[in-house]
Assembly symmetry: C2
Homo-oligomer: 235 residues x 2
């Protein structure tokens, strides 16, 4: 049940390669990529395959082609969307961890606060049961999966589609780097303690108080995580 390690596809190699050129700054914003025909020859792939790769980069907000003119490299810090985040963390930039966690806990606080307003008694019981199952979960892999599932259910409670989509991007980040998830599971007890705590907050139905508590608690947890990864840079 290991990862597929099929021969990497040309389109993936091309997209990753060009993306790396842009993100590293070796191709500056405002510059233009070589013409497709030339670039394809350089990369040793067909022009159509190259175009497929370029389509991805365009969707990510890194480049903008213009017929007759060329393909200009955009200033991705001002044009790229959150979809770029998984690629950035995949590149291994550890300084992204702290900012990312900061964003995540702001969102999480909003989620819990919003859920406080909408949660029904039935939902409360279901989450309570789910939390009880998770606190006694010993298998770390299932604990991680349960964490995602619990969080997603919480998100769905808010009936906030934009937040749901943002959560999906977060989940994609975890998926792209298992080591990140592993780091979060370094001391599983703290994670296990989170679920009942959240249920307790939901039960009180005091949104703003819940928001502040979540912010406080997560800030403390995240600081530990950052410190731990700094000590062990193998993440």
């Amino acid at each position: 049940m290991l990862k597929k390690l099929h021969t990497p596809r040309p389109v993936d190699l091309a997209a990753d390669g060009i993306r790396d050129e842009i993100l590293s700054g070796r191709i500056a914003p405002g510059e233009r990529l070589p013409p497709e025909r030339k670039l394809a020859e350089t990369l040793g792939i067909n022009r159509q395959t190259l175009r497929a790769a370029l389509a991805r980069l365009q969707a990510e907000g890194l480049v903008e082609p213009r017929q007759g003119s060329g393909i200009t490299v955009l200033n991705w810090r001002e044009t790229a969307g959150v979809s770029l985040l998984p690629h950035l963390v995949a590149a291994g930039d550890l300084t992204l961890l702290e900012p990312f966690l900061r964003l995540r806990r702001a969102i999480t606080a909003e989620i819990v606060a919003s859920a406080c307003k909408r949660v029904t008694d039935q939902e409360l019981d279901e989450r309570d049961q789910m939390a009880n199952t998770l606190v006694s979960e010993t298998d770390l892999d299932r604990l991680a999966k349960g964490n995602i599932a619990f969080s997603r259910r919480l998100v769905q409670l808010t009936e906030n589609l934009p937040i749901e989509l943002l959560f999906n991007t977060f989940a994609a980040i975890y998926a792209s780097r298992e080591d990140l998830q592993a780091a979060m599971l370094r001391n599983p007890d703290t994670l296990r303690a989170v679920f009942p705590a959240i249920v307790g907050l939901l039960r009180q139905r005091q949104p703003e108080m819940a928001r502040q508590i979540v912010l406080q608690v997560l800030t403390s947890l995240d600081e530990n995580l950052v410190a731990a990864t700094r000590a062990k840079p193998d993440l």
Copy 2:
């Protein structure tokens, strides 16, 4: 200086068409798209062009092709990223406004709180000057642009790349629907009053207090905006 209204390109039409089919639910998650060859013929375009359109949808997390098997439609509520948001609001779903604003103000509060910790005296003076310019700005278009610029500068203060990227997505939404931005400018005075208020919060350098105030104020403003758009559904 109007919009280019060149003949819409086949790849755009195809991508938008298929995306709409998926988002509207006419193609259910788990189902498979017709084979590329057949679908291309149906749409009256070439297979390569169709593949370019499919590449976008894949980047957005709507479909997942598998060689030999077919192209399966994903459950986009669980797989799509925030990059889908502009397309959703472009589709005209007004119920998205309130959730979106809720997310936006949670982020904004985090931005201001984070900026409180990092702002330098020099930055403070520059933002103060910028705010003073904006409060007396009468041209609505320039006010809107100044708003974006002011906000972006604030985001950059946080030195939080994930939040920067998220902000870019928000900016893309405004760009995709000018009417949304117009709605926010309906009573410009409230917007103009925001800039000095934020500078005042930065000056106090009390992050958590700033967060709560921003949340309170924006909640009030956003409620008015939602109510206004409900009254005038022309947004």
